[in-house]
């Protein structure tokens, strides 16, 4: 296993427990329908409504740049949302005339690609010479930041990425705090693990950023 692939696996472990999979090789995945949702009806009334929708690709592109302070899914000078617009369901008005706004597997795959690319650069910018405070008040390279600062940063991120205002003491932050805590633990563990490269603390914030972008509250409205 090369150093690079080890690094990839280590980062993936921050999100889910896939490290064993990296170590043990491919793991077969069952394709049957999983039982997400609980089938319980929800009373929403009978008044007219607006259909909650997935952002179109132009909205995703623009919004990603806005929440990151100008960083988009670009490789070189090529906007990847433009490069892959056909696969992403953007109409060309010859072979397709309306945008496919389904939350499809391919959309989620590309969104995740975008999130990983963008959030790495956001975290590196914040840890570099010209941070703009995306994760304020936390210093992304600080080890063991004050819990109150972490909560304040998470609350600000939730507002910026999801338009959701919660108090730093809100239980709504609990899952995000848990994610950050687990990611930080993985980062710390990498220092002690001779088989894994050191991961700077900013990778934990990068993880939070990716999760925020991949979350339905970001790409639907």
């Amino acid at each position: 296993m090369t150093t690079r692939s080890i690094a990839r696996c280590g980062l993936a472990a921050l999100f889910v427990l896939v490290l064993p999979a990296c170590a043990e090789g491919p793991v077969p995945v069952s394709l049957e329908e999983h039982g997400f949702g609980d089938e319980r009806p929800v009373e929403v009334g009978g008044e007219p409504w607006r259909e909650r929708r997935r952002m179109d690709i132009a909205q995703v592109d623009a919004s990603l740049r806005r929440v990151t302070g100008g960083i988009g899914w670009d490789i070189g000078t090529t906007n990847q949302f433009v490069r892959f617009d056909d696969s992403l369901g953007v109409p060309d008005y010859v072979s397709s005339t309306s945008e496919d706004r389904a939350v499809s597997l391919i959309f989620l795959k590309f969104l995740d690609d975008a999130a990983r690319n963008v959030c790495r650069r956001v975290a590196d910018r914040e840890g570099g010479d010209a941070p703009i405070g995306t994760f304020a008040p936390v210093d992304v390279d600080a080890e063991g930041p004050a819990p109150a600062d972490v909560d304040a940063a998470l609350a600000a991120l939730l507002l910026n990425f999801h338009g959701r205002r919660v108090a730093p003491t809100s239980p709504a932050l609990t899952p995000w705090r848990t994610l950050y805590t687990r990611a930080s633990a993985e980062v710390a563990a990498s220092v002690a693990d001779p088989d894994r490269p050191d991961l700077p603390p900013r990778r934990a914030w990068e993880t939070v950023c990716v999760a925020l972008v991949d979350h339905p509250d970001f790409y639907t409205y």
Partner: protein
């Protein structure tokens, strides 16, 4: 759909969404690892075991979520943190709506909203003509040899015209005879000349090598042909003209076709930014040109292949004097026959038959798509098959009794092209075209292209020599040809179909679903307000996004 059914559908909706969102995320597995992590973090309302961790189950959006939806629909981007903070500070969401739509005093032009409207109209106008490169003649296409970097018109027929074989010129400077023609020498059976240096119109800052025959600049050949026209194709005495002005490259073709689309996009944006009546989009004489379009109209319009835009309906002499590379757009006024985007080259080339033009208009702007009945249409029988008039032919007449008169509004705009046939030059009947039936060899091109010159059945006989648009047209429909597409817009406005459809299309765009029958009263009220505002599109959008319907998001 009844209220109870709607409610039931609403009940099922969130549960289904939860299954879809989380099922997909779960299925992605390691591909969307982060998404999976996120899905575990924030369960859907339907499965929230810790209410404090979940969003409130309230279909009516809170101010922050409402602002986010407004911003995405009206500007295409999420709000800034500062805007959220202003909201928390007491600023009403409606205040943002007025600012983003440019309706509040002193608000800047709503350029972001205009871009959203442009994007939205893509689904109505389908403005892609990238594949219609036959407005250029393939034999005029310039390309660069990758080895020698010498440019020439690389079509084999053109090379044979110049050199007697399908080869390019020699990689050496050209020499010229006393008559000014390039001198050649025989190489491998071909008469090959050298190259000359030219500053091409697409980039005058550079000098390129061009085969001397291709770089000829004479406006008229020794045979008397106009070298700027397609008539000169195949005439060895004609080249590409000064600075190669008559010959496109692949990049030039793409730039021109993209610019035609840009023209339509700017017309839509201008309608919004200048707060004009929405229907002016379909009746205005405004157009926009940049350097690429100006160059095309000035130098290349006459070298078409099979899709002509000539006789052109634009005052070429009045176009701004700009170079091909000038990206700035300038507004120009078109002749009186124009009807907004409905006669823009992009529309005419995207929909190349008058029937297609009318059908798109009926669907997009009158909400009346032409489609067969659910029961289907009867198959042709031998008697019906003899009826050449599709307005009468059983089965066909289900759509064509209405479609043919509608299509007649584009009767003076050429099909498979976008030229305008001025009545002064193309009268309804021409005897010389009727005579083509007897002598096809001498039949003028104008007759073959635009007039009925053959009668396949006795029913066709009365149409011989008539402009094609008049073929089988009822007497009561003949005026439509003179009215042009403006007549269709006028009729749609007069009977309310246009207003109702514009309202419906806009509401469906913003609420993201087809409207229901029990929402007729709402849409009728919206249409009345739209009409009372003199068809200001921004007012219509404001009325929709500030409604309770919009704010309830499921």
């Amino acid at each position: 759909m009844t209220r109870p059914e709607e409610r039931e559908r609403g009940r099922a909706k969130l549960g289904r969404r939860a299954r879809v969102a989380f099922g997909v995320l779960g299925g992605v597995g390691v591909i969307a690892a982060a998404a999976l992590g996120a899905s575990l973090l924030t369960p859907s309302p339907a499965e929230c075991d810790e209410p404090g961790s979940c969003r409130a189950l309230e279909p009516r959006l809170d101010d922050h979520a409402y602002l986010r939806a407004l911003s995405l629909d009206l500007r295409g981007v999420v709000p800034t943190v500062e805007e959220y903070d202003a909201l928390a500070g007491g600023k009403a969401p409606e205040t943002f709506v007025d600012a983003w739509l440019g309706l509040s005093p002193g608000a800047p032009p709503p350029t972001e909203f205009a871009e959203r409207v442009v994007s939205r109209h893509g689904a109505l106008l389908w403005p892609n003509i990238d594949n219609v490169d036959r407005i250029f003649h393939f034999r005029r296409g310039l390309s660069r040899d990758s080895t020698t970097a010498i440019w020439d018109q690389s079509a084999n027929d053109t090379r044979r015209t110049y050199r007697g074989a399908g080869v390019t010129c020699l990689d050496e400077p050209a020499t010229f005879g006393a008559d000014g023609r390039p001198q050649t020498r025989e190489v491998d059976g071909a008469q090959r000349e050298g190259w000359v240096e030219v500053r091409p119109y697409w980039d005058p800052s550079t000098t390129i090598k061009v085969c001397a025959f291709d770089a000829q600049r004479a406006p008229v050949s020794a045979q008397g042909r106009d070298c700027a026209s397609r008539a000169a194709i195949g005439d060895a005495g004609c080249g590409c003209g000064t600075d190669l002005a008559w010959c496109p490259t692949s990049d030039v073709r793409k730039a021109v076709l993209a610019s035609f689309r840009g023209d339509v996009e700017r017309r839509i944006a201008a309608n919004i930014l200048e707060d004009e009546p929405y229907h002016a989009l379909l009746t205005s004489r405004r157009a926009f040109v940049n350097g690429a379009l100006t160059h095309y109209w000035t130098h290349q319009r006459n070298s078409y292949d099979s899709v002509p835009l000539v006789p052109e309906s634009i005052d070429v002499a009045a176009l701004p004097d700009v170079g091909f590379g000038d990206a700035a757009w300038q507004e120009v006024e078109l002749p009186a026959e124009h009807a907004g985007v409905l006669t823009a080259p992009t529309y005419l080339l995207r929909f190349q038959t008058n029937r297609a033009r009318a059908a798109r208009f009926y669907d997009a702007f009158l909400c009346q798509p032409f489609q067969p009945p659910d029961t289907g249409i009867a198959p042709d029988d031998p008697v019906a098959a003899q009826q050449p008039d599709v307005q009468l032919r059983p089965g066909c007449n289900y759509c064509h009794a209405q479609l043919e008169p509608a299509a007649a509004h584009w009767g003076r705009w050429t099909q498979q092209g976008g030229a305008y046939l001025d009545p002064a030059d193309f009268p309804e009947f021409q005897a010389e075209c009727a005579a083509c039936r007897l002598d096809t060899a001498t039949c003028p091109e104008r007759c073959r292209l635009h007039y009925v010159t053959r009668a396949l059945t006795p029913a066709d006989e009365p149409n011989l020599g008539r402009l094609r648009a008049y073929e089988f047209l009822r007497p009561e429909h003949r005026a439509y040809i003179g009215e042009g597409p403006r007549g269709l817009v006028r009729d749609g406005l007069a009977d309310g179909r246009f207003t109702a459809c514009a309202t419906r299309r806009t509401a469906e765009w913003l609420v993201g679903r087809p409207l229901r029958e029990d929402e007729e009263a709402w849409t009728r009220d919206l249409a009345l307000r739209f009409s009372a505002s003199d068809f200001r599109y921004r007012e219509l959008v404001r009325a929709i996004v500030t409604s309770e319907t919009y704010r309830r998001a499921l």
